[in-house]
């Protein structure tokens, strides 16, 4: 990544409050025009990092560059970034128009140009017909649009969004996801969003940074985070996962085998896991990557003949079923007592009737499905 295309560079940034380290030596680069998400559980430091980008907090150590300029000690009113706050923070005593025009006062924009720019920003968020409204006459979704227009009218280099969708109801939240992504695409400004909702981050962001206890765990595209998590935390935080502790037994260029007491057998990989050192490691398998098959009394496991070669098979009994409409989630007890989660799409209207409580089943998954995690 050349320096010209990097809009935000965070270098070894640490933020301490007394003895508490909120952000611990985070290094990040965000390219111009990207929709970037900071994802993590509450208290992981993502909001502190965002507030440092905005200038409300100063790093204890390290530097923050925005468009090549070191802004680490520059106050918020002098930074080329604007923010959409979690509470939207729309000024209650001003009309929508006055709210959006407020920030332009400080930019030496001629009075004549202000009107046009405010109305254009309001049109971008489809609120131009409500310019004279007061915020108390608007819904939460509309207030959020005011906050968006108020930030975007300043033409910031980066737009920061703090949990932008958390206060909306479920339907509106989903609609706003698409709208925000579309808006970002249209205006081309770099968006940095903080969220604790993994669906939100995966659905909207080009890339996500997952944080835990102040540390950056992994930065990757949504699909890489999900399919190639870097560690147990990421695997567990993004989606659901079945984790098994084990030891590496075979590691060849074309296959690998992990012996796992927890699973009660071996786990086969159809690829090498070269470089994986150490004795203790974990294998993660996503619930939707496991196939369920009926297991009759005294039957043998499905052989490679009726499955792709290199399959993993284990036996279990269905204990719990959550029917969610589009899919069903099965909690299955393995022979050795370990519980595993399997999800199954309801492709036809009768699929959920294939399996019921206490059914004996085979669990089968392909050799390229599990991921090996070393930490």
């Amino acid at each position: 990544m050349s320096d010209r295309d990097t809009i935000i560079r965070v270098e070894e940034v640490t933020k301490r409050y007394g003895k508490v380290t909120a952000v611990d030596r985070v290094t990040l680069e965000i390219p111009r025009g990207e929709f970037f998400a900071l994802l993590g559980p509450s208290g992981c430091g993502k909001t502190t990092l965002l507030r440092m980008l905005a200038g409300f907090e100063m790093p204890s150590e390290g530097k923050i560059f925005i468009d090549g300029v070191d802004v680490s000690t520059i106050p918020p009113n002098k930074r080329p970034v604007n923010m959409v706050f979690q509470s939207y923070a729309v000024f209650p005593h001003m009309t929508v128009f006055e709210n959006v025009a407020y920030g332009l006062k400080f930019d030496n924009v001629a009075k004549a140009d202000q009107y046009g720019r405010v109305m254009a920003a309001l049109a971008d968020v489809k609120l131009d017909h409500l310019a004279e409204r007061k915020p108390d006459q608007m819904s939460g979704g509309q207030r959020q649009r005011v906050a968006l227009a108020r930030a975007l009218v300043k033409k910031p280099k980066v737009l920061l969004l703090d949990e932008p969708l958390s206060a909306l109801d479920a339907k509106l939240r989903e609609a706003m996801r698409f709208e925000l992504a579309e808006l970002q695409d249209k205006i081309g400004i770099t968006f940095v969003m903080v969220t604790h909702d993994q669906d939100e981050a995966l659905a909207m962001a080009c890339r996500c940074a997952v944080m835990d206890r102040g540390k950056l765990m992994q930065t990757a595209t949504p699909s890489n985070l999900y399919e190639f998590p870097a560690n147990k935390f990421v695997a567990d935080f993004i989606g659901s996962v079945n984790l098994f502790e084990g030891t590496l037994e075979v590691d060849e260029p074309d296959h690998a085998i992990v012996q796992s007491e927890e699973l009660g057998g071996r786990i086969f990989f159809d690829h090498g896991v070269s470089g994986a050192g150490g004795e203790k490691m974990w294998v993660g398998i996503r619930p939707e990557k496991i196939e369920l098959l009926k297991r009759e009394e005294g039957s043998t496991p499905p052989t490679p003949e009726d499955a792709p070669s290199g399959c993993n098979v284990t036996a279990g009994t269905i204990r719990q079923i959550s029917y969610l409409g589009s899919e069903s989630i099965y909690e299955i007890d393995l022979i050795n007592g370990r519980r595993m989660q399997v999800s199954r799409p309801n492709l036809s209207r009768w699929d959920q009737e294939d399996f019921t409580w206490d059914d004996e089943v085979w669990l089968r998954w392909h050799g390229d499905s599990p991921v090996l995690l070393q930490s």
């Binding site: 604007n82 923010m83 923070a89 209650p92 400080f106 108020r150 300043k154």
Partner: protein, 276 residues
Amino acid sequence: MAKKVARAPLDYLNMPAMKAWLAGVFIFLYTPLMILILFSFNDSKANIVWKGFTLKWYVKAFENTQLREALLNSLLIAGVCTIISIVLGALMAFAFWRFKFPFKGPLESGMSLPIVVPEICFGVAVLLFFAKIGFPNDLPYPFNLTQIILAHVTFAFPFVAIVVRARLESFNPELEAAALDLGASRYQAFRDVIVPHMKPGLIAGGLLAFTLSLDDFVITFFASGPGTITFPVKVYSMVRFSVTPEVNAASTIIILITVLATVLALRAQAATTKES
């Protein structure tokens, strides 16, 4: 026989006994005031028997130059005291809301001390204070009112501070952050976002300060130098001989002023609270 019907809380107001009680409370509260106002129109020197309607006591009150002067003094003192109290009270409330500093807890409790200290003690203290520092007693009008204004501000501004402090608790700090984020300086954010939020508190507190100052007798009595007189003090001196309808008329005017100020303040407050 009529069955006993369970009542919802608001239904109790429909009971005749309840209505009578309510009426009784209002009569108890307002009869003295009504009599005062009624007899200001009585065409008799004695405040006992109704003789007929007249406005002559109002004319007489207006022609009483001393009374007029006292009323003007009181209004001037109350006005200046209100403005100073609003500024000081707002700053104090803001300081306690925004900053952390040593002894903040005790200081914040101490904020209400002038409210709980008996007026008579406060009055004596003020008198001693002014005597001790040798405050000049012979300043020309209107500066001869300075002592009274200072004394009034001392007990009035904590009321403003308490009201504004309570109002600030409901302030969303993200509003200030948003103003800073949009390019405002700290002062501009304070002026454009925090002060508008404080406004209902400033109005309510200012109203308190105004009425407290306008009708204060005890502290004024101690603080006023020779030759300066306020309305309550003047009325007291008039009543010492006899309660003439002239006093009734003057009091009615004061009631009118305070009611008017209250209505205006409540209106302004309703307009601002609607926004938030």
